[in-house]
């Protein structure tokens, strides 16, 4: 897969493979908690790779596809400017530092997991991470609070996955088409 013709992006400074790597490398290094606002700042405001509209459009595509938004975004931006080498440079740049950091933390955890102080520390950290996830779930579900159809579909997902611990594949293959079908009926 080669890069999309440069005409679409001619007005920008098209990054080369090295710039793609360093841009996403710095993003991976600095993006604590949420990379998305930083990603926009880096690609649109600081480096001028994309216009704001192009960024929003690409983000829309990446949210629509399986995988993490920002991971998909790095692949899409890399491909757009420099084809397959660009995609590799972008995603590797993005995950290099975070991978090294988590493995470092994992080594520390593995070595000291039996120490009561370390166990308590990680107990608190894990509980806080769970709290963050609860907050994320509330923020995503809140806009649906008056949407009966949405609430029913969401509740069925929770029942299937969290209560009955059903496998994800059949759950998704049943509920996603059902939800899309009911939406299309609702729209017409």
């Amino acid at each position: 897969m080669d890069a999309i013709p440069a005409a679409q992006t001619a007005k920008h400074d098209a990054p080369d493979v090295g710039e793609l790597f360093t841009g996403f490398f710095i993003l991976g290094l600095t993006g604590f908690g949420g990379v998305l606002p930083l990603a926009r700042h880096m690609m649109v405001e600081k480096r001028g790779w994309l216009t704001g509209a192009e960024f929003t459009d690409l983000l829309g595509l990446c949210q629509f596809l399986p995988g993490g938004n920002i991971i998909n975004m790095s692949v899409a931006v890399g491909l757009k400017f420099r084809g397959i080498p660009g995609a590799f440079a972008s995603i590797l740049g993005l995950i290099a530092v975070p991978t090294a950091v988590v493995i470092g933390l994992g080594v520390i955890y593995g070595r000291f997991a039996d120490d009561p102080v370390v166990r308590h520390l990680f107990g608190g950290l894990a509980a806080a991470a769970a709290g963050l996830l609860i907050s994320t779930a509330i923020k995503i579900a809140w806009p649906l609070r008056r949407d009966v159809l949405g609430l029913v579909i969401g509740a069925l997902c929770v029942l299937a996955i969290a209560v009955f611990r059903l496998p994800l594949l059949p759950t998704l293959l049943t509920l996603a088409p059902l939800s899309i079908f009911l939406r299309s009926r609702q729209a017409s």
Partner: protein, 176 residues
Amino acid sequence: MTATLVTLALIFAELSLLAFGGGNTILPEMQRQVVDIHHWMTAQEFGALFALAQAAPGPNMMVVPLVGWHVAGFPGVLVTSLAKFGPSSLVTGFALRLWERFKDRPWRRTVQAGLVPVTAGLVTASAIVITHASASSWGTILIAAMVAIATTKTRIHPLLALAAGAVLGLTGIGQP
């Protein structure tokens, strides 16, 4: 060892293609596979790995290489990362080509609207499964509840909330 790596590759390649709505939607399935089916770790250990990944910089799917490392060392990191990020990246590559063509079609909006409640339900399920594993004593339940309320009601930085949870945890209050 090879059999373990092949199993890891298959699990994470499937998760890669099922992760509609981002990484948080596949946590329960990841936990089901590595804890309930393959017994590579306990639910508490999975919760701890998830927490470590949240405390690290970068995209929120860094629990993937960490699970690989825990199960099979550095080959595990390589296999899980490739399997998790490869297939979805290929899909992104092909979709980028089709995107311009379907951009303004009404069915795209319908599909997107249909996926929103599924994503919301899956992230809620993730929150339930992870909280069940990580908040088992009254001390940790209190920390989880405080962080959930603080990060929902205020604009506190997530990393700060994690640090506060770790410090509270360090005191050992309410933990066995």
